[in-house]
């Protein structure tokens, strides 16, 4: 193993965690050496920085390996590149990176060479690899999808746009996802080079209440869905008198079609580690848990590596950076399910019980994990905390709306030209995200509705999507921010069928603890099935509404309260489709079994 930036540069460096850690360790990595002035050490750092950027031999290929790219054959592309480099004997470094979140260009690779513009190639197949690399090395970038920046001496360069010229990149504000797709998720060194752990170093020099004040001024609100101000939660736990407190990071995205948290943890696990340490320092906790569901195998693996590396260099463990603060993180991986995303059910599952929600009060801030005060945050919230501490609240608070600062990662999927994860300022209109960033419906299709915020979020008709995505506006329209999911629904889909599918999802995912959710979802499903098979009546709609309102009010947890929302919102905005099923006994989209029967009779 060669020398890395994380190691000592010469014998003068005395950083030795945990007995004698240097408080300036993080800053010293890139700006150093700080404690002595030695041109040789400076030279060593500069050489290594250059190596990280362009590889050991001046040429580097970044291959995106994350769940999203692996699903479309990134592993084969990686192997093809490795074989090509081996056979041709070219001096090229291959680096594994996370994913940008631009899912429509998967699998993608990026070739970097000093003096040339770094070029991103989209939808790469293993056969193309040889052509791409040899063309790039000959100075031809015309086949590239985009350039990271221009340097101005490659062939065909001006026919290829830079990322900033592309609308889906330009309209994003990438704060927490800035490292995604750029760094090796398994390398702490690359994270530190990009400004990682500076937020932690800054936080440790502040008092805990100052850290909480910083979060308050940044107007950070929980990204898990409810939008609860993070500083209130942290302060409540900090004010509790208890020998043990916990930080719990919720990395279980139960919502189907939500994948932004997974992308974040897979592509940049250190930002979560950093955010958790900061949260732990602010509230006085010494232990953190990350809950990862079964889908998060890769995320858990990379996070485990990140925790190991952070421990190795004294950024986690005893006496972090000489502050006397100790913190440890444990990963809990279990069969995640929809209810595990609910915070108290998550605690139950970490404690080894069945994941059912608890009665509140007592709230987790007073009695959480094993009866101790606990902060439960979504992974994205914790990542935002790390960014706030690194950049300062003043810059962060200028992004977003008056009541809620910063950005939100949204997962866009469905009938859409450019599905993916995009990070946009809070308050960006849904139309901007769907039509400008994600490109609207694919050719020949027209959008009808957008599902906002996951299954418990609800549907909005396309005419209504001119509203800002924030925590205050959406509930007024009967939908919720949820996990930041936007699913585009085109005209060939039937709203009754979608409502039925969502209800079937809730029936199978309901934990069965409280009556309204357990029986109510099942009853609503049977009514919806009756309507979709053409046996429904007008009273059924009233019954659905009545049941829906009851579920919204009476269920034990937010997941039960959210269960009727897809049905209620589709009745609210697409009543004519329900009427067609009930009165005319036909399905306008031709999906529900009712219309198939009609076709058979006519034929």
């Amino acid at each position: 193993m060669s020398w890395t930036l994380m190691n000592r540069c010469c014998l003068k460096c005395w950083h030795k965690p945990p007995d004698n850690p240097c408080p300036n360790y993080v800053q010293c990595r890139i700006k150093g050496p700080l404690c002595h002035d030695d041109p040789e050490c400076r030279e060593l750092r500069a050489r290594r920085l250059n190596e990280l950027e362009f590889g050991r031999y001046g040429v580097k290929v970044r291959v995106a390996i994350a769940s999203c790219t692996l699903a479309v054959g990134a592993a084969e592309v990686y192997e093809a590149i490795r074989d090509y480099v081996k056979e041709s004997g070219l001096a090229i470094d291959i680096s594994v990176v996370g994913c940008h979140g631009l899912d429509f260009i998967d699998p993608w690779i990026e070739v970097v060479r000093k003096g040339y513009p770094p070029a991103i190639y989209a939808n790469v197949s293993p056969e193309e690899v040889e052509d791409i690399i040899s063309r790039y090395l000959s100075g031809d970038v015309s086949k590239a999808f985009a350039l990271r920046y221009r340097t101005g001496n490659a062939k065909g360069e001006f026919h290829v746009p830079t990322l900033d010229e592309l609308v889906f990149w330009r309209k994003q504000v990438r704060l927490v996802s800035s490292n995604c797709g750029l760094i090796n998720p398994e390398s702490i060194e690359e994270y530190v080079v990009r400004g990682g752990y500076l937020g932690l170093a800054r936080a440790l020099r502040m008092r805990p209440e100052e850290v909480i004040e910083e979060i308050k001024l940044a107007k950070l609100r929980g990204r898990g869905g409810a939008g609860f101000p993070t500083w209130i939660k942290w302060k409540a736990v900090k004010d509790q008198v208890s020998d043990v407190k916990y930080v719990v990071a919720n990395a279980e995205e139960g919502d189907p079609s939500a994948f932004s948290n997974r992308l974040l943890v897979e592509s940049d696990p250190h930002i979560l580690v950093e955010g958790m340490i900061i949260a732990g320092y602010a509230i006085g906790a010494s232990k953190g848990y990350v809950f990862v569901g079964t889908e998060g195998d890769l995320a858990a693996e990379r996070l485990k590596k990140a925790i190991e590396e952070a421990k190795k260099y004294g950024l986690l463990g005893e006496n972090i950076l000489g502050s006397g603060f100790a913190f440890d993180i444990e990963i809990v991986q279990d069969a995640g399910r929809y209810t595990s995303g609910e915070e108290t059910a998550l605690l139950e599952e970490i404690e080894g019980k069945r994941s059912t929600p608890r009665v509140r009060p007592p709230y987790p801030v007073t009695k959480g994990l094993w009866g101790k005060p606990t902060v439960i945050n979504n992974v994205e919230t914790l990542a935002h905390a790390a960014v706030i501490l690194r950049d300062g609240w003043d810059r962060y608070a200028t992004i977003g709306t008056e009541k809620s600062g910063g950005t939100k990662m949204v997962s866009v999927s469905g009938s859409i030209k450019r599905p993916g994860v995009y990070e946009v300022p809070i308050g960006t209109t849904i139309r901007t995200i769907i039509e400008d960033i994600a490109g609207g419906a694919p050719e020949g299709l027209k959008l009808k509705a957008v599902e906002v915020g996951g299954p418990a979020g609800g549907f909005l008709p396309v005419s209504e999507i001119n509203i800002p995505l924030d925590y205050d506006t959406l509930p007024k329209l009967g939908v919720a921010m949820g996990s930041g999911v936007l699913v585009a629904v085109d005209e060939h889909k039937c709203m009754v069928d979608l409502a039925r599918q969502f209800m079937a999802f809730f029936v199978s995912e309901s934990c069965g603890k409280c009556v309204p959710c357990r029986v109510g979802t099942k009853t609503m499903l049977s009514i919806l099935e009756r309507i979709s098979s053409g046996k429904g009546s007008e009273e059924d709609l009233e019954l659905l509404k009545e049941l829906g309102e009851t579920l919204k009010d009476a269920c034990l947890c937010a997941l039960g309260n959210g269960a009727p929302i897809p049905v209620l919102s589709s009745i609210r905005y697409f009543k004519e489709e329900f009427s067609a099923h009930i009165r005319e006994k036909r399905c306008p989209a031709g999906i529900c079994p009712v219309s198939r029967e009609v076709v058979r009779y006519e034929g």
Binding site: V359, C514, V515, P516, G520, L547, E549, D553, A554, L556
Partner: protein, 218 residues
């Protein structure tokens, strides 16, 4: 223990011990309130959602598990609480196997009391009947319409020795009717005489036709 906690229930101010739950305050205020768990210590899972009460901020909380605090105000009879309570009870009953004539809780059923309070129909007279199964009029060979008739009269006739004539109207839940008809046949009654007795009070009831159809199918 330090002083008592003052709680306002539907505008009535009551004092309860700190650490108790809203349900205790409701009981102290003398407001009738059914709950399946009855006592806070017994089971505090708050999962039946039948004792939901409304807070001034519009939140619905379970009275059996919500802790009291000084100056807490709760409302037990708002339109929202009544509606959710009614629908939730309906949902609970929908998956409840109603065979009151052989049920051990005969005569002392919380569900029927709640159903009567919330004007829900679907539970037969048998749930209120004080005659236990061995003394049941049907066992004595008397054709009582209790299993088919809507509860709510405190089973006045059977209690005083007379049989039920079904004057409160038929139960319209099909699975209950089918089970009751099977019971009649097991005990040796012919369905023809059951229908004839039922026609005395139900001849104008829209359910009668359906009832006859169901009897044919049994």
């Amino acid at each position: 223990m330090r002083g008592k906690v003052k709680v306002k229930v539907d505008g009535i101010e009551v004092e309860v011990d700190p650490g108790s739950v809203v349900l205790d305050a409701i009981k102290k205020a003398g407001i009738p309130m059914h709950s399946l768990c009855q006592a806070g210590e017994l089971y505090r899972g708050a999962s039946c959602r039948l004792c939901l009460v409304e807070l001034p901020n519009g939140k619905l909380v379970p009275a059996c598990a919500y802790p009291v605090s000084n100056g807490l105000e709760v409302y037990t009879r708002t339109p929202r609480t009544l509606r959710t309570r009614r629908t939730t009870l309906e949902l609970l009953l929908a998956y409840h196997r109603i065979e009151c004539w052989i049920c051990k809780r005969k005569g002392d059923c919380i569900l029927v009391k709640m159903a009567n309070d919330l004007r829900l129909e679907g539970i037969p007279i048998c749930a209120e009947c004080p005659l236990h199964s061995d003394e049941c009029l049907l066992n004595k060979g008397i054709l009582c319409l209790g299993p088919l008739t809507v509860a709510g009269c405190e089973a006045e006739c059977p209690a005083t020795g007379g049989r039920c004539w079904g004057c409160r109207g038929p139960i319209t839940r099909e699975d209950v009717v089918v089970r009751a008809l099977r019971r009649y046949r097991e005990l040796g009654f012919t369905l023809k005489e059951v229908i004839e007795t039922a026609e005395i009070f139900w001849s104008a009831h829209p359910f009668l036709e359906k009832f006859k159809l169901l009897a044919e199918g049994v």
